[in-house]
């Protein structure tokens, strides 16, 4: 059975190793898609709708076409078709400079017949609201219903009940590098595209199919990319448009989204509104749960969220619908559906605990079937100093009040088959690892180098890692679902082991020992039964002469594990005069399986916490019901956390086993719930709608007074 070995035997795995590509990144040398400049390259731009709902009556491209420096203008929607949200694509241009492209966009004239729009869930659900999807009856999808046990019997048994409505708004991804591509046709049959993507091979296959090319004649490159968080899988309309413009003009075309378009069309986390009634027995068992909820993913569906979440409820019913509004499509966003559901569930848990007169952590202990989290509750409570919390929420008369809260989360992250990789040992001692995954900032390059270096007794800097390129055709899946490391690491490990075995076979005669007796040291290979028989790595590989060893690997299931439990504790301070909220500390206890690189794993946890904090206290897409437009499609009014909002973060990488699990997503799940519960503990009034902003806090305090 394949294994990662004992911690005590590991020289690199499980240690803290600085990022391999770090030097390129701190010197500005690292090239992102946005940075690609090809000779004679043109700049692409897209004209987007400023109207939320309209029929296209006419598009006049002639004035744009006549502008000097413009090389192509193409329509992206047919006359007679409908525009259904602000930001939807109307036409595109390619021009010699970006400014000319902008000028050209302004010279495209579009005739529209405006239709009534709805941009909020409430408006969309009103009887007689304008219908915006032809395939649904009204603006709501068929309900998705899940039932377990018997809720009526459950409520009969309940000693306490809570009924509440929880809401989270639409959040956008805000990747610092916007979506985009640089497309270049090498000739009529060979296409190269630099893509800011989480899925090199998915994008390749999309282009191959769309442009009717053999897949191996499309090369997609993503050497570095500036964040995706779930929004960058397919090439999108902008990607296909870039390729089409490049095809028409015969030149390379760069087409990156503007920040505004990024907010409007490049995906978002759907909203959630849920009405829930739940009950618990007098001894603290969650016994019944009845929830009806909805959310919007814009004109698309996909607005699901979890509930009940994490805790065991024997009798439950959950009914969810999607609501369509005139706004851009949702896309997967870091742990889709989980942070919303977790916020509601953890708020509900605290409300029930209070009715029972029970400590929220105690109440969770009774109802959480997950053993890992049971241990995490203890550790997290200790670390935050849970005993210091307000025993009576909102007690005291000081202006600034502090409180503490807890939240939980659960994720899969077990990886899967479908990655091919090659590990090569050259005669000069150099080592190369190649696979078609992509490093979206998580540090998979470094992880690959660590695994290979560990296997060969080398340093990570001795291993050349090539990822982010669909050539030479070693596929790997998209980086989503926290799947990258658990999908890639086992294949790299077995490929390296196979290559090592081959090398051992070559040099065993030289060392006059059976292959099974050979081991790697640090930069050496020796015979375990007779340590005087040692040769250096270079001497060993020198035996290969003109050859090299190149081995593939297999995805060994034993090397990874599904299931990552997490718990977070938050401490906040509320200024009861201004409503200002400051998150003081977050303790994130995150099951990470075997964290191959502890340094980058911690960073993942920190990053997740901050995204959760943004959702908890800052982020919200505002739609204007009158104009149908997003009011804050920029980075000034759409607030993401900055250095001043950042609490002390204590990330505890919680080891439970020595198998690899992905942790890109889970750390953002428990944060909003933990913060919301801490706010309640501080001021004694519950805010059931995210983000928890000063105005909501002041309103709530005024109502209480």
């Amino acid at each position: 059975m394949a294994s990662w070995g004992e911690a005590s035997e590991s020289r690199l795995i499980g240690k803290r190793v600085t990022r391999l590509s770090g030097k390129d990144k701190v010197t500005g040398k690292a090239k992102y898609t946005f940075d690609i400049n090809e000779p004679g390259m043109l700049y692409g731009r897209i004209l987007r709708s400023e109207t939320a709902h309209a029929t296209v009556i006419g598009i006049d491209l002639s004035e744009a076409e006549a502008l000097p420096g413009v090389k192509a203008v193409i329509p992206l929607i047919e006359v007679g078709n409908k525009l259904r949200y602000q930001g939807q694509e109307i036409a595109a241009v390619a021009a010699e400079t970006d400014d000319i492209a902008k000028d050209a966009i302004r010279r495209i004239h579009v005739d529209l017949e405006e239709l009534p729009h709805v941009v909020t869930e409430d408006d969309a659900m009103v009887e007689g609201a304008p219908q915006i999807r032809e395939d649904w009856a009204g603006n709501q999808s068929e309900p998705n219903v899940r039932e377990d046990g018997d809720i009526n019997a459950g409520f009969d048994e309940a000693a306490v009940e809570v009924e509440a409505t929880y809401h989270t708004p639409v959040q956008t991804h805000v990747c610092l590098e916007t979506h985009g591509h640089v497309a270049k046709w090498e000739d009529e049959q060979n296409l190269t595209v630099w893509a800011s993507t989480q899925g090199v091979f998915g994008v390749r296959n999309d282009f191959a199919q769309h442009f009717e090319l053999p897949a191996n004649q499309v090369r997609v490159i993503t050497e570095h990319m500036g964040g995706g968080f779930g929004s960058k899988f397919g090439p999108g309309i902008e990607g296909r448009t870039a390729v089409e413009l490049a095809r028409i003009t015969g030149k390379a075309v760069k087409l990156m989204l503007t920040r505004k378009a990024e907010h409007l069309v490049a995906g978002n986390r759907p909203s959630m509104t849920q009405q829930v009634r739940a009950g618990a027995t007098s001894d603290g068992r969650l016994i019944a749960y009845d929830m009806k909820g909805y959310g919007t993913g814009g004109i698309s569906s996909g607005a699901g969220f979890t509930g009940p979440y994490v805790y065991h409820v024997p009798n439950s019913r959950a009914e969810r619908v999607n609501v369509a509004v005139n706004a851009g499509n949702q896309r997967a966003m870091r742990a889709p559906g989980h942070p919303q559901g977790a916020f509601a569930m953890d708020s509900l848990m605290d409300e029930l605990a209070e009715k029972l007169g029970m400590d929220p952590v105690e109440f969770r202990r009774i109802n959480d079937p997950n053993e890992v989290r049971q241990a995490q509750y203890t550790l997290g409570a200790q670390e935050i100093g849970w005993h210091r919390r307000n025993t009576v929420p909102g007690a005291g008369t000081s202006v600034k009040k502090r409180g503490m809260g807890v939240g939980s989360g659960q994720w899969g992250g077990g990886g899967g088959r479908g990655t091919e990789a090659r590990v090569t040992i050259n005669a000069d001692g150099t080592v190369e690892a190649v696979t078609g995954t992509q490093d979206i900032g998580t540090g998979i390059r470094t992880v690959i180098a660590m695994i290979v270096a560990e296997e060969f007794g080398l340093e990570t800097t001795d291993v050349r890692v090539k990822v982010g390129d669909s050539q030479p055709g070693l596929p790997s899946g998209g980086s989503g679902g926290s799947q990258t490391t658990p999908s890639v690491a086992p294949v790299i490990k077995t490929a390296a082991a196979a290559a090592k075995q081959k090398l051992f076979e070559r040099i065993a005669p030289l060392l006059d020992a059976p292959v099974g007796d050979l081991r790697v040291g640090t930069g050496t290979i020796y015979v375990v039964s007779d340590r005087t028989k040692t040769i250096t790595w270079k001497q060993a590989t020198g035996q290969l002469g003109m050859e090299s060893i190149s081995e593939g690997g297999t995805w060994e299931e034993d090397l990874r594990q599904n299931g990552a439990a997490g718990t977070q504790f938050a401490e906040v301070e509320i200024d009861t005069q201004t409503g200002a909220i400051r998150v003081i500390k977050i303790v994130a206890v995150q099951d990470c399986g075997l964290a191959i690189n502890r340094l980058t794993t911690e960073s993942q946890v920190n990053g997740g916490v901050i995204m959760g904090l943004g959702q908890a206290i800052l982020e919200e897409r505002f739609m204007d019901p009158v104009t149908g437009r997003m009011l804050n499609a920029n980075l000034e009014d759409y607030k993401v956390p900055g250095t001043l909002e950042i609490p002390e973060i204590k990330s505890i990488v919680f080891d439970t086993h020595r198998k690899v699990t992905g942790v890109g997503e889970p750390p953002c799940i428990p944060t909003p719930g933990a913060i919301a519960n801490a706010v309640y503990n501080a001021i004694g009034v519950r805010i059931r709608s995210l983000p928890i902003t000063p105005d909501k806090i002041l309103d709530a305090l005024a109502e209480k007074a």
Partner: protein, 158 residues
């Protein structure tokens, strides 16, 4: 096409001449005309700090400065920070503290930190946080960035 102006400026200590339209921002000139792509475009309207460079000793968002405004001035960008064989202490500190993930915000943060330490070699943690508030990062959680700048301050003022 609009008329272009001839501009002479100093970039990372070297005299540079370029032609640009009066409406082109310094960021566009750096990235599209001079192929210095270390300064990034995150928003193009002064909200993210990814395009931070130092202009005559002052930290600026290069997306808010016009290329023609740099006539006779001196621009420092991330490309000029390291010596050929040695990283700048701020760069080292970012590496050692793992203060980056995707890294697209990193040049902006480093230039911003450079401008801070040039004028205030011993900033407090609060001063660092306040100064860096104009730089956005969606990946790291900032914690390690702040620590990196504190470490770099110790290193440079020692």
């Amino acid at each position: 096409m609009a008329r272009k102006s001839h501009v002479q400026t100093t970039i990372n200590g070297e005299t540079v001449e370029f032609l640009c339209e009066s409406r082109q921002s310094l960021l566009e000139v750096l990235r599209d005309e001079l192929y210095l792509t270390g300064a990034k475009e995150g928003c193009n309207n002064g909200n993210c700090g990814a395009c931070s460079v130092i202009l005559d000793g002052r930290l600026v968002n290069s997306c808010l400065v016009l290329g023609v405004e740099t006539e006779g001035k001196s621009v420092e960008t991330i490309e000029g920070l390291a010596d050929p064989d040695k990283l700048h202490p701020i760069q080292d500190a970012f590496l050692e503290n793992a203060a980056l993930q995707c890294g697209i915000c990193t040049p902006g943060f480093i230039m911003s930190a450079k401008a801070l330490l040039d004028s205030n070699p011993n900033p407090t943690e609060h001063e660092i946080r306040y100064w860096l508030a104009g730089n956005l990062c969606r990946c790291t959680g900032y914690d390690k960035i702040v620590k990196a700048v504190m470490d770099a301050a110790k290193e440079t003022s020692a």
